[in-house]
């Protein structure tokens, strides 16, 4: 089987779009209210450390690809069980994103369209993308990120005409606790969902590539979300921001330049749809790869269609109403998310460091004994 190799700049585009994904219109870090910008800075700093750990773990793995590396380090059955667990996590995340997308589209325009019809369109596209492979998805991202960045930049610049910077004052009025809670919300969704990408890439050009892909991708997406969310708070006020389902979308819809440049909310909608599609595709890819490896197959493409079809009912099952969507986006720390995003990677990293250290040590003494 041909190993798919992703170039670093394409990988950065993929990571950025994945993190922006369904987060680009949601109410992020609402707990922090007017101190949201502080929560963002804290969350970006913590997420950078965690993503560096993911990258370190990925660069430690021996072998040509991820699954060979995991098998070398942890043995056949633990690595298969692990990949099945992450396949389940990615499948669930794909269901959530599909549900978010359909809820968003139904709320803003297609009110009477059944959820299944909207999800079907995105899932069909995702099947196509996943069957083409991660390399094609990354190249697609490198093209479409330009459109998304242009759209979001226009929205941000025009939002500046409506901002009221007094909305950020007084700073830390409620103390540091809401800032920490807001940062935890942001870490849970969307920053540490990037763990899924760790399973998506087959192999990298160099051992340093994981650092060069994941960290810049996280930082770019983080600062875009920070600017958009902060601008939305400055336009809407912290109360409206917190209790709105799609505050960035609502803030962009208020742009009005001399009754001429109006109705720019479609711009935010397009960015959300592009990012959401990519996130579904990457989650579907990881679910297919994880399931195939878990059952001992080297190819994954034959599993894509049935798994994609299962995302359609999953999107109706996991989140039934838009209030549940708001609840899932605003939770502080989900136990399963904490397990997959922080606990398991930390354990894997610890085990990998110890095993690689003991291997290097035995190799060193082995060579000195031979001499």
């Amino acid at each position: 089987m041909r190993k798919e190799l992703v170039q670093e700049n394409h990988g950065i585009a993929l990571t950025t779009l994945f993190i922006l994904g369904n987060a680009s219109v949601a109410a992020l870090g609402g707990y922090a209210e007017r101190d949201l910008w502080l929560s963002f800075l804290l969350a970006i700093a913590v997420a950078s450390i965690v993503v560096t750990i993911y990258s370190r773990l990925r660069s430690l793995l021996p072998g040509e690809n991820l699954f060979e590396g995991l098998e070398c380090l942890f043995g056949k059955w633990p690595s298969r069980f692990l990949s099945l667990a992450y396949a389940g996590y990615a499948w669930r995340l794909a269901g959530y994103v599909a549900s978010d997308l359909s809820d968003f589209i139904r709320t803003i325009s297609l009110r009477n369209t059944p959820k299944i019809v909207i999800v079907l369109g995105f899932v069909t596209l995702a099947i196509w993308g996943v069957k083409a492979g991660i390399e094609v998805l990354a190249r697609w991202s490198s093209v479409f990120i330009k459109a998304v960045l242009a759209a979001l930049s226009i929205a941000f610049v025009l939002l500046l005409t409506r901002v009221d910077l007094l909305e950020f004052l007084p700073v830390l009025y409620n103390g540091f606790k809401p800032v920490v809670l807001g940062a935890l919300q942001l870490l849970d969704f969307p920053f540490l969902e990037a763990i899924v990408l760790f399973w998506a890439f087959d192999q990298f050009t160099t051992k340093q590539s994981p650092y060069k892909i994941f960290l810049p991708g996280l930082l770019i997406a983080g600062f875009i979300l920070l600017l958009l969310s902060a601008a939305s708070i400055a336009v809407l006020g912290s109360e409206l921001y917190r209790y709105n389902y799609f505050p960035i979308f609502v803030a962009v819809s208020r742009i009005d330049l001399a009754n001429f440049v109006t109705r720019l909310e479609a711009v935010a909608g397009i960015a959300f749809s592009i990012g959401g599609f990519l996130k579904i595709a990457v989650c579907l890819l990881v679910a297919s790869k994880g399931l195939a490896y878990g059952f001992g197959f080297s190819k994954y493409r034959f599993l894509v269609t049935p798994l994609a079809l299962s995302i359609i009912p999953a999107s109706q099952w996991l989140i039934k109403t838009i209030m549940e969507f708001a609840g899932s986006a605003n939770k502080v720390v989900g136990p399963s998310d904490f397990l997959f995003q922080v606990l398991l990677p930390l354990i894997l990293w610890g085990v990998a460091e110890i095993k690689m250290f003991s291997r290097r040590k035995s190799n060193f003494y082995g060579t000195t004994d031979d001499q």
Binding site: L291, F295, F297, K299, F302, L303, T305, P306, L307, L309, S310, I312, P313, A314, Q316, W317, L318, K320, P335, S336
Partner: protein, 74 residues
Amino acid sequence: MIVLIILSHLTIGAIELYLWKEHPFMETLLYLLLLLGTTIFAVMLAINPELPVPSFFNGLAKLWEKLLVWRGSL
């Protein structure tokens, strides 16, 4: 609705299997099992849209609460 779901899954499966160049036994078996699971899942959701989502951690929390009640009764 249920008939429509089953028919659509069957059609997609049949077309995709027809388009495969080779039909290795294990791959075909896993594909069919997964498609069957997906169809059952979709049908179950069509019959009961309020199908509860199982939560491992909520289950643990409930078990812990029951254990506390049981210990309190001793």
